[in-house]
Amino acid sequence: MTPALTRLRGLLRKEVLQVLRDPSALLIAFLLPLVLLLVNGYGVSLDARHMRVAVVAELQAEDTREIIQALAASPYLEPVAASDRHQAEQMVLAGEVRGILVLREDFSARLMRPLRWPARAQLLANATDPNTARILEGYVQGALLSWAAGRAEEKRVAAAGGIALESRDWFNPELRSADFIVPGLVAFVMSMVGTLLTALVVAREWERGTMESLLASPAGMGEMIAARLICYYGLGMLGMAGSVLMAIGVFGVPFRGSVLVLGAAASLFLLFALAFGLVISALARSQFVAAQVAFLTTLLPALMLSGMLFDIASMPAWLQALTHIFPVRYLVSILQTLFLAGTVWRLLLPNLAALAVAAALAVAATIAVTRRRLD
């Protein structure tokens, strides 16, 4: 065995022992993904269920009772009767209901003679949360239209408008938001784990000065960085595998792509994240600064700019351009495709290439920064 290899083996042994003795690295690699994935996987959902709507019928009639029943039949809505508008407004302000459906006094009368005056229902939506307001409007509209259509059929009145729109959802026919959020969460978790592993653990070595004594040993800098990356890579991949298994086993997300491509993407991304963590730890002098920088450059972009929750295509152009410098964006895209769609090379190849470039840049930066700090 060449001396270089022997040294690398020795260094690896040192890293593994260090990991086994200090619980922090193991906690980051295993506990953090578990907690984050479980809490967020169950808690973060865009599936609206049981949105409460106050219904104010100014004149109680057969029609208005039917409408309340139609709303209650929708799995997304939960009508609550209110005696008047004032009471309903108080319910909105107290956060008890998401909106108010007002059926005016002349509602039933107008319904009888639809050709002269259309009957109007009014929805007052609490638009503090605009997304939920819009979704609420869609469901109320849907419930009213299907009620009107059923009624028209009953009374043999031709429904106006003869064009139906049939929507079909690919990959995710029930539009379960977990199916698209959980693969994104896996990427989110990995991006935090990868960077924190090296950023915090190694920042402490710099802070305590043990890094310098290591550098004074005969081991070359390249060997040292390699040993560190290999060791934490092993940890990170185990954490990743656990996260993927949880996504499939606990959250029931289908996996339709190639496991090999998943492994390749995860490896490239971890290499980037670990090397990036080394850069942060070498630049930041203290653990406090390293923690803040890691928070700012991994957690927030992974949450906001990766396409995990917010569609990148809807952002302003300058922000869309900015998302390209955060590699987590490519990982989210790859994972969503592998989980839900399959091995679509036309989409995967450019994203894998981008991850490879990011990994290469991060490793180069690590070497440059470590060398400069020694001088």
């Binding site: 922090s24 980051i28 506990l31 984050l36 809490v39 169950y42 808690g43 973060v44 865009l46 609206a48 909106g99 319904l111 639809p114 050709l115 259309p118 109007r120 229902a121 009014q122 929805l123 609490n126 638009a127 503090t128 949360d129 605009p130 997304n131 939920t132 979704i135 869609g138 009213l144 009107a148 028209a152 031709a158 429904a159 106006a160 408008g161 003869g162 064009i163 139906a164 729109l165 995710n172 938001s177 698209f180 959020i181 915090l200 930041a284 653990q287 406090f288 600064v289 923690a291 928070f295 700012l296 906001m304 700019l305 917010f310 569609d311 295509a313 809807s314 302003p316 922000l319 495709t337």
Partner: protein
């Protein structure tokens, strides 16, 4: 007693302010986050790329296609001529949806027979898919009305959007950021100040001074709360002055709620640091607590969507209650009673955690 606490508070604040790197890290990131967050956090869709697979050469199909292209929600980028080509476009995320107009579409509409068009959605983007389906429905309905034999619909729904008439997502996100950004900074300052003293061994020195446990605890809690309050007010100023948000409610109520909120987050930070032996463990604890606290607070996704058990868990989350007050005061002019309903859980959380932190300092003394 108050003089001693004041001295400790001043010492903590000076030590935070005198290190330029710490100073930068306290001030710059929140402002960067305000700008990036508030532009990124939109669920709205506009100019969604659409492929139209048109098998119908009729004029009516062409007109419907123009309606889609002309709306602000869509723009047509591709015209595949077979299902496989359409599928490939969706797979590769070139388009978010495919509109399919069947061969007999125009003929059926002209003959006043029921016609249908099909929309294929990329449900990897589930929220977008939901909204896109809604917009498409509206366009098709309006179009259908014009070509219908009967001139009026029997039933229309008018929607009035309350509190946020233009459905501006920034009005939703910015009041939330007031709570979210101050959460992270106040917890980090509180938990690290105690953990650092432990790690460096200066904690024992502090214990032998005349300071009593309650005073030590307050001396650590107050500076962190001050930093958090400053940060929250920085975000409020940016929201009002730069983003021009309305402010409907009472400033006094908002500030009072913020103070109590800060005491609860600082209490959490101190509680974490009483379990941590090193700064690293404290940072880790803050991460493990703050990330779920953010996600379960209703900051981004509605609380009603959570399973019941998780919804209960979120009642222990002070961020959830602060969001009610912040959004209420900015947008809704929330009345006093519901505001107080949200404030008392935060006060309870603060009292329990701060009392716990005091006990743990006293135990270190024994």
């Amino acid at each position: 007693m108050w003089r001693r606490i004041l001295a400790l508070v001043l010492k903590e604040l000076t030590s935070l302010w005198k290190d330029p790197k710490t100073r930068t890290v306290l001030l710059v990131p929140p402002l960067v986050q305000v700008f990036i967050f508030s532009y990124a956090a939109t669920f709205d869709v506009s100019h969604v790329s659409l492929a139209v697979w048109n098998e119908d050469n009729g004029a009516i199909a062409a007109e419907l296609m123009r309606r889609f292209d002309g709306s602000s929600a869509f723009h047509v980028v591709a015209a595949p001529d077979n299902p496989a080509a359409a599928a490939a476009l969706v797979d590769a995320k070139d388009v978010a949806a495919v509109l399919h107009l069947p061969q007999d579409f125009s003929a059926r509409v002209l003959a006043h027979r029921p016609a249908s068009v099909e929309l294929l959605l990329d449900a990897r983007r589930s929220n977008t898919a939901l909204l896109v389906a809604g917009y498409a429905q509206t366009i098709v309905q309006d179009f259908a009305l014009e070509y219908a034999p009967v001139p009026v619909a029997p039933l229309t729904l008018e929607t009035r959007d309350w509190f946020n008439p233009t459905l501006d997502p920034q009005w939703f996100i910015l009041p939330g950021l007031v709570a979210v950004l101050s959460l992270v900074v106040s917890m980090l300052v509180a938990s690290l100040s105690l953990a650092r003293e432990r790690e460096l061994g200066t904690f024992e020195q502090m214990l032998v001074t005349p300071l009593r446990p309650l005073e030590i605890m307050l001396g650590k809690a107050v500076p962190a709360a001050i930093v958090g309050l400053l940060e929250a007010n920085l975000v409020i100023a940016a929201a009002l002055l730069f983003f021009r948000l309305p402010f409907a409610g009472s400033v006094a109520m908002l500030e009072a709620a913020l103070l109590i909120y800060m005491l609860s987050t600082v209490g959490m930070g101190l509680a974490i640091s009483s379990f941590a032996r090193t700064q690293q463990q404290a940072i880790l604890g803050v991460f493990v607590y703050a990330a779920p606290a953010l996600m379960l607070s209703g900051f981004i996704t509605p609380i009603e969507n959570m399973p019941e058990a998780v919804e209960w868990l979120s009642r222990l989350d002070p961020v959830r209650w602060m969001l009610v007050v912040a959004r209420g005061e900015f947008l809704q002019a929330i009345p006093t009673a519901p505001a107080l309903d949200a404030i008392w859980p935060m006060a309870a959380i603060a009292v329990v955690l701060l009392a716990g932190a005091t006990v743990s300092v006293r135990r270190a003394l024994a």
